[in-house]
Symmetry: none
Subunit: 253 residues, 2 copies
DNA sequence: AAAAAAATGTTCGTTTCTGTTCGGTTTCGC
DNA sequence: GCGAAACCGAACAGAAACGAACATTTTTTT
């Protein structure tokens, strides 16, 4: 409840001018710089503005800043995984790609494939594959998640149930030592499950950073996956399990 | 706070021009070349730009579909229509936007609206409205049409049937002298019909070029529309019809 | 009216940004 | 290929902006 009468007006000015300066606002309201700084920090914490040196700007249109950073994380490793995966994807099939930076990298590698029918719940994947003229792109419906361009919810699941895919390429948020695929978002898990159900074969793409993380929701087990593409050797125990499960493991680079 | 005032504006310029130069930016902002170089390296590290010798370009993955053509055709008229239309759209409603450059222009004008729930079968609209944090975006499923980023087919119609909208803003390919809304694509007509059925009110946006064209499939009549936003006076006969139909007509600049 | 809470002003040490210079690298015209 | 010009990043110093802590004023509560 730390609102002052200045906050709404600062917002209005920011909308009009595109930016506000500490100095300018201090003069405008007849208060000290420090007071304005406090205002701006409060408003930035509330997400109404984005703080910059000397003032503030409207929240960046690219809300998915965390996402951009993730995409930029280790692009070469991601690309290597994606290349290995794309090499195993034949032409002339129907294919699902779900949410995740890794699956986007796969989409990038599929630009030269032919006669694919790709269904996706990832806006970025659709945007990428639009550049492949011999590829039919179908987008599932769903609520658009700003953080990563994913389409989630019942609409997505319902759409997926209407298809049967030759192959699904999925990502996950984390992968634990027992070989369980985990995700942060319960809704997304429903979507992933539906995908696995509707697919004849399944590939998992995940870089080694996923080994270290954990997440609350369980999607499936590596035993349900036909091939796993990653960039670092698996722990010995898990590697053995994969052999038993007949899950092919491809370590790139 | 790892940003400066310049970053958002640089991004904006890059989006508009396709590229930015160190020299040009330095002049534009009145700072030294080195400062701009630092900006560009920062932004490149964050994945928002791609550095090239002498400047920077947009990252290749950020290819918004149809972005080029959108601004090509008489943008000022479209923007005027869109502004007039957006002014009639209240906050806090559910809203459908369909395919067409005109509806995309409306989306652009809705960036400052609040608490909208927007459903769309237009990828470009979704890409635009992602920038409005107080707007929930739902995408219908469908086959992606490359020419305009539209999502069409049964999937789209089915999704739409699951909603009831306070307002629908639609475009059309052509508008004949009898006041009939026409489209080139039969599938798209099915979608448009479904939209009209599920909406309490309906706005049509179409610039005057649509008057001269014709198209084979009939969507509906202007008599089914609550308000029509355009940029040139209607033929006298049609104007009279609209008065009888109680279809409001707004002619912008 | 007194006490408490909140907001604002003031000061000061620290961080961040910017311009300058310099040596190395890339690009471009020949 | 070769050399000049443009461009690049690193390093440094001065300036601007920052946040924390404390004092002061205003508002609210009791």
């Amino acid at each position: 409840m730390s609102q002052t009468f200045r906050h709404p007006e600062i917002l209005e000015i920011a909308r009009r001018e595109g930016k506000v300066t500490v100095e300018g606002l201090a003069q405008h309201f007849g208060v000290t710089l420090q007071t304005i700084r406090r205002d701006l920090t409060d408003m930035a914490e509330a997400g109404r503005l984005e703080r910059v040196h000397g003032g503030a700007v409207l929240p960046s249109s690219t809300t998915n800043i965390g996402y951009e950073e993730r995409r930029a994380l280790n692009p070469s490793a991601k690309a290597a995984i994606a290349r290995a995966c794309a090499a195993q994807i034949p032409n002339d099939i129907s294919l699902f790609l779900n949410i995740g930076t890794s699956t986007e990298a796969v989409a990038q590698e599929l630009l030269l494939h032919e006669n694919l029918m790709v269904v996706t719940n990832n806006m970025n994947v659709a945007n990428i594959l639009v550049a492949n003229p011999s590829c039919e792109v179908v987008v599932t419906g769903g609520h658009l998640r700003r953080s990563d361009g994913g389409l989630i919810g019942n609409l997505a699941t319902d759409t997926i149930r209407q298809f049967k895919f030759d192959l699904a390429v999925i990502g996950c948020s984390a992968l634990d030592r027992d070989g369980d695929l985990l995700d942060f978002d319960i809704q997304e898990v429903g979507v992933s499950r539906a995908i696995l159900q509707q697919s004849r074969r399944t590939f998992l793409v995940a870089d080694h950073s996923k080994f270290k993380r954990s997440a609350p929701a369980r999607i499936a087990s590596l035993s349900d996956i036909d091939a796993f593409f990653t960039d670092a050797p698996l722990p010995a125990a898990l590697s053995q399990s994969c052999a038993i499960w007949k899950t092919a493991v491809s370590v790139s680079e």
